[in-house]
């Protein structure tokens, strides 16, 4: 990652991040981006309209005609059947979007806020604080995320919980895992940017540290954030589902959570009951797939070596760095590449 030749200034004002990329993308990449946006859009709409879409409540066990019954196969009454606990599968899948969305939002907001702040301080001031934070971030980073999430879930909720405490337990567990990622990316960018001439100019003028950090450094350090954000959102869902599967989920009476439902469906599978597991599972895959497709496409579009050109396939005609600062730090390796950037 050579940064010597890139002029950091003269950067055209860009539109909304995703819209710009949508215009830039061609062919296959456009298809993937559009597919990802559609999947994500359906997820968001479902979460917003859950009350209208779901035929029953997520914890409803009976209606006017009596109890639903357990493990009923899909029928006109229950399109996707009922679970071993006697809940309507479709309704729980639909309401599960709300839990998922809430966890994503809380986790991302918290980890961005803390991670960016720490990364900025650490990269800007350097010194012992920087070293300590880097070592801690590396230590947390190297740890299996699920195990860390388990520890955090025990700490926060003691294992079992209602809807909002469950959401916060999952979200905070995830936050702890992702802070190091934001920290690393922002810190690396900050270290690079603070050596730029315009930061020096700002210092000479007498701008305060805070002003330089927020106006000069932060604004230029955030270009990789949308990418990490989508990827972390998808990992948040997977972690939430993993926690739920291990029994650290939200109680079925207080909220719908797909991982927990899958845990309950585990024994159904051996007796050939497929509808209790397939539908919540597909819901998880749907959301993660949508978010990952968006993130992946953004990654490829930001990396000139991977971007398909609008012009006739030019092979590799030199490095045309469109993104200021050279190719994205997350270069080789796509998703995994981000993790390699040290």
């Amino acid at each position: 990652m050579s940064t010597a030749t890139t002029p950091p200034t003269a950067r055209p004002r860009r539109g909304l991040p995703v819209v710009r990329q949508l215009k830039q993308a061609v062919g296959l990449q456009r298809g993937m981006l559009v597919a990802g946006l559609v999947l994500t859009g359906v997820f968001l709409l479902t979460a917003a309209l859950a009350d209208l879409l779901a035929p029953y409540g997520y914890n409803q066990l009976r209606d006017a005609d009596g109890p639903f019954g357990a493990q009923q196969s899909p029928s006109g009454e229950h399109w996707l059947g009922t679970t071993v606990g006697g809940y309507d599968v479709l309704s729980r899948v639909i309401y599960g979007t709300r839990t998922a969305l809430a966890v994503i939002v809380v986790a991302i907001v918290l980890s961005i806020f803390i991670g960016v702040l720490l990364g900025l301080l650490s990269g800007y001031f350097g010194g012992w604080l920087d070293r300590v934070l880097v070592v801690i971030a590396d230590a947390v980073y190297a740890f299996p995320t699920l195990l860390l999430a388990i520890v955090m879930a025990i700490v926060i909720s003691g294992g079992q919980s209602g809807l909002w405490s469950g959401i916060f337990a999952a979200a905070i567990s995830i936050t702890v895992i992702y802070i190091p990622q934001y920290f690393r990316v922002i810190r690396a960018e900050t270290v690079r940017i603070k050596a730029e001439a315009y930061v020096e100019s700002a210092k000479v003028i007498g701008a305060s540290h805070w002003r330089i950090m927020t106006r000069h450094v932060l604004r230029n350090a955030t270009r990789t954030l949308p990418l990490i954000l989508t990827l972390n959102a998808s990992e948040a869902i997977l972690t939430l589902a993993g926690l739920g599967f291990l029994g650290f989920g939200i109680e079925p009476t207080s909220g719908a959570e797909w991982g927990f439902d899958l845990n309950r469906a585990l024994s159904d599978v051996t007796s050939g009951i497929w509808w209790t597991s397939i539908f919540p599972g597909v819901a998880i895959v749907w959301v993660v797939l949508g978010l990952t497709l968006v993130g992946e496409s953004l990654n490829d579009l930001a990396d000139p070596r991977l971007r398909s050109r609008r012009a006739a396939d030019a092979g590799e005609t030199g490095e045309v760095t469109v993104v200021p600062g050279g190719p994205l730090g997350a270069g080789p390796g796509g998703l995994a590449g981000i993790e390699e950037t040290r």
Binding site: L266, E316, A336
Partner: protein, 368 residues
């Protein structure tokens, strides 16, 4: 990151890892000191994790109340807590805990009253076996497909493979495992659903093998009974595929991106201009250097595999560390959970060290 920040801040070496100006040839001393420094870095990593896990777990209160609270009367509970020393100041307990760790004592489980190290000895091999199978599956699927995707770049096979790779990542292991079970166990009836071997084979292994390694495949081969080997392998297929697919997607993507990257390098262009065939360019010139990062990533995958193993083992009742961990979680035995988590942290830290050293041995550019 080559620009020096020293003249700006007046603070030398503000960025410890980005200090290339000091690089000098020191007649081969580079590797040795790199390994030494890298080795020393293990300790702060483990220390930080141990410390945070200890204090985090204690914020919930003591483990005995967590495990038995509600089941015992208050006096009896207080007695048990005092007997285990959980009523002393937290710092005293912490220092004592560190002392135990140095003597490799990771605690004793509350629910089964078994040292955690013993749990590791009993169940670690099962997890190791599963992880190795999964890694083999992942490499067998990921590398050839990744190379093919790079070869077919931007054509439909590439699109299919990339979506496949993302699907691998997007599917939670336990869901993949459940689908596999639905198809191959309850649907087709080809493969067993749970466990590491049938009870008959397990008894056979225990009775006829002198020093069982705990790795069932090796033990099964030792029995010399073809049926047992077959049985053990049949049990391994579904868990290995479920966990392997998770990582296969990562390898596929990595190989694809790296091969595309190296295909654009000057030396490949030079070889092309010399008339080297496209097939050979892909196979020799672009493919080989693209494999180097795989080694580093295998190291990163160890953490992912261990996390995945917890879920996979629970799905398939594969009696390894992960399965035990989820049992302890159900039993709210937080001493055991803490012990296992810390133990796994050590495993991960040491593996990462080994992988970094291997990467440094293979590729001199890694060292700094």
């Amino acid at each position: 990151m080559t620009t020096t920040s020293t003249e700006l801040t007046g603070e030398p070496a503000a960025v410890p890892e980005a200090a290339p100006p000091t690089r000098r040839r020191r007649g081969g001393g580079g590797l040795g000191s790199y390994i030494a420094v890298r080795f020393l870095l293990i300790f702060p990593t483990i220390f930080i994790l141990v410390t945070s896990v200890f204090f985090l777990m204690r914020t919930t209160g003591d483990p005995i109340t967590a495990a038995l609270g509600g089941r015992l009367g208050p006096e009896e509970l207080a007695e048990r807590v005092a007997a285990a020393g959980y009523d002393r100041p937290l710092l005293t307990q912490y220092v004592e805990y560190l002392g135990q760790l140095i003597r490799l004592d990771f605690g004793t489980t509350l629910s089964t009253n078994q040292p955690v190290t013993e749990v590791l000895a009993d169940f670690g091999t099962a997890t190791l076996e599963l992880a190795v199978y999964a890694l083999v599956v992942a490499l067998l699927i990921g590398i050839p497909l990744g190379r093919f995707a790079a070869y077919a770049r931007d054509r439909w096979p590439d699109a299919v493979l990339r979506v496949f790779a993302i699907l691998c990542y997007a599917t939670p292991v336990f869901f993949a495992g459940m689908i596999l079970k639905l198809i191959f166990t309850s649907g087709l009836g080809w493969l067993p659903a749970n466990g590491r071997a049938s009870t008959r084979s397990e008894i056979l292994i225990q009775t006829s093998v002198d020093n069982p390694t705990g790795i069932y495949l090796i033990d099964a081969i030792k029995t010399g009974n073809g049926e047992v080997v077959r049985d053990v392998l049949e049990h391994a297929v579904l868990p290995a595929v479920a966990l392997g697919l998770l990582t296969a997607g990562v390898f596929l993507r990595l190989v694809r991106t790296n091969v595309i990257g190296t295909l654009g390098m000057g030396y490949v262009e030079a070889a092309r201009s010399r008339g080297v065939s496209e097939r050979r360019l892909l196979r020799k010139h672009a493919y080989r250097p693209a494999l180097i990062p795989i080694i580093t990533v295998i190291g990163l995958q160890v953490a992912l595999l261990l996390g995945g193993a917890v879920l996979t083992e629970t799905t398939f009742e594969w009696r390894g560390l992960g399965f035990q961990l989820s049992e302890y979680l159900q039993a709210r035995d937080f001493v055991a959970v803490q012990g296992l988590v810390v133990l796994l942290a050590v495993v991960v830290a040491v593996t990462n060290f080994v992988v970094d050293v291997i990467a440094a041995l293979i590729d001199p550019r890694v060292r700094y």
